[in-house]
C-alpha cells in the first residue's frame, strides 16, 4: 500500500477533477431547481462515503472486541474521524442547498435530525478517545461505535418509511434521471469513496506510528537508569 499510495492518490485526484468537470459543466441543469441542484453531486457522495467509513468503524470495533487487535482499534479511530469530516460536509452542504429550494436553512425533519444525531454520536466517540485516560477506553468506544452504527440504516430508510421534507431518492426510488446526470453522480461517488479511503489510510498510518512511538517512549523511560538518593 505504501508504494501504491502515490499512484492511487494521483488517480483519485484525476477522478475528483473529472467529477468536478462532469458536475459543473457536463451534467444538464435540472428544470425545477436550476444550477443549485448540482450540489447533489457533492452532497450525496459525501453522505455515502461517511456511511462507508462509519461501517468500517463498526467492523473494526467488532474486530477489536473479539480479538483485541490494536490495529483494528487504530482503524476504528481513523475511520470515525474521517467519517465525521464527510458527515460535516453533508450537514453543511445540505442547508446551503435547502435555503434556495425550501426557503429555510434547516428543519427538524426526521432525515436531517437523524443525520445530526449520527454526527453527534461520532463526535462524542472522538471526544471519548481524545480525553478519556482509562485503560478501558478502546472497549467503551467500540461499544459506543456499534450502537452508533444503528443510526445509519435509520438515516437511510427514514425517507422511505416516513413522510419527510427531504426528497425521496431518485436512484433506486422509482424516479427517472438523465443519463448524463447519472454519469456525473457515479463518477463523483467513486471519486469521493476513493478519496475517503485514501485519507482514512493516511490517518490510520498516523495512528499506528503514534502508538508505536508512545510504546518506544514508555519502554525507554522504563529502561532509563534511575539515580539513587
Amino acid at each position: 500500500m505504501k508504494r501504491a499510495f502515490p499512484i492511487l492518490a494521483i488517480l483519485t485526484a484525476i477522478l475528483l477533477a473529472y467529477g468536478l468537470y462532469q458536475a459543473l459543466w457536463v451534467a444538464p441543469t435540472e428544470k425545477t431547481m436550476g444550477d443549485v441542484q448540482r450540489i447533489f453531486y457533492y452532497h450525496v457522495p459525501s453522505a455515502w462515503t461517511a456511511g462507508v467509513l462509519f461501517f468500517a468503524n463498526f467492523l473494526a470495533s467488532i474486530a477489536y472486541l473479539v480479538w483485541r487487535n490494536t490495529k483494528a482499534d487504530a482503524l476504528a479511530v481513523a475511520s470515525a474521524e474521517v467519517g465525521v469530516v464527510f458527515c460535516t460536509i453533508v450537514l453543511v452542504t445540505g442547508p446551503i442547498w435547502a435555503r434556495p429550494v425550501w426557503g429555510i436553512w434547516w428543519t427538524w425533519d426526521l432525515r436531517l435530525t437523524l443525520t445530526l444525531v449520527l454526527w453527534l454520536i461520532y463526535v462524542s466517540y472522538l471526544l471519548l478517545r481524545r480525553f478519556s485516560t482509562s485503560g478501558q477506553t478502546p472497549v467503551i468506544a467500540a461499544v459506543l461505535a456499534i450502537f452508533g452504527t444503528l443510526d445509519i440504516p435509520l438515516v437511510y430508510f427514514s425517507i422511505w418509511f416516513f413522510r419527510t421534507q427531504h426528497p425521496q431518492p431518485v436512484i433506486g426510488g422509482g424516479g427517472s434521471i438523465d443519463p448524463r446526470m447519472l454519469h456525473a453522480f457515479f463518477i463523483n461517488l467513486v471519486a469521493f469513496t476513493c478519496f475517503g479511503i485514501l485519507v482514512c489510510w493516511l490517518r490510520f498510518r498516523l495512528e499506528v506510528r503514534r502508538r508505536e512511538f508512545e510504546e518506544t517512549q514508555a519502554l525507554e523511560s522504563l529502561l532509563e537508569p534511575r539515580s539513587v538518593s
Binding site: 468536478l20 459543473l24 457533492y42 452532497h43 460536509i89 442547498w97 506510528r209 503514534r210 517512549q217
Partner: protein, 40 residues
Amino acid sequence: MSYLYAAYIVTWLIHLGYIGTLVQRYSRLRREMQELEREP
C-alpha cells in the same frame, strides 16, 4: 449560482483543512521521534 459555489468551496475548505491538520500531526510526530533518538 452563489449557493452552488459556496457548497463546493466549503466542501474543499473542510477537506483541505483536515488534510492540513493531518500533515501538522505527522510533522509533530516526526519531530518528537527525532528528539527521542537524539536523547543520550
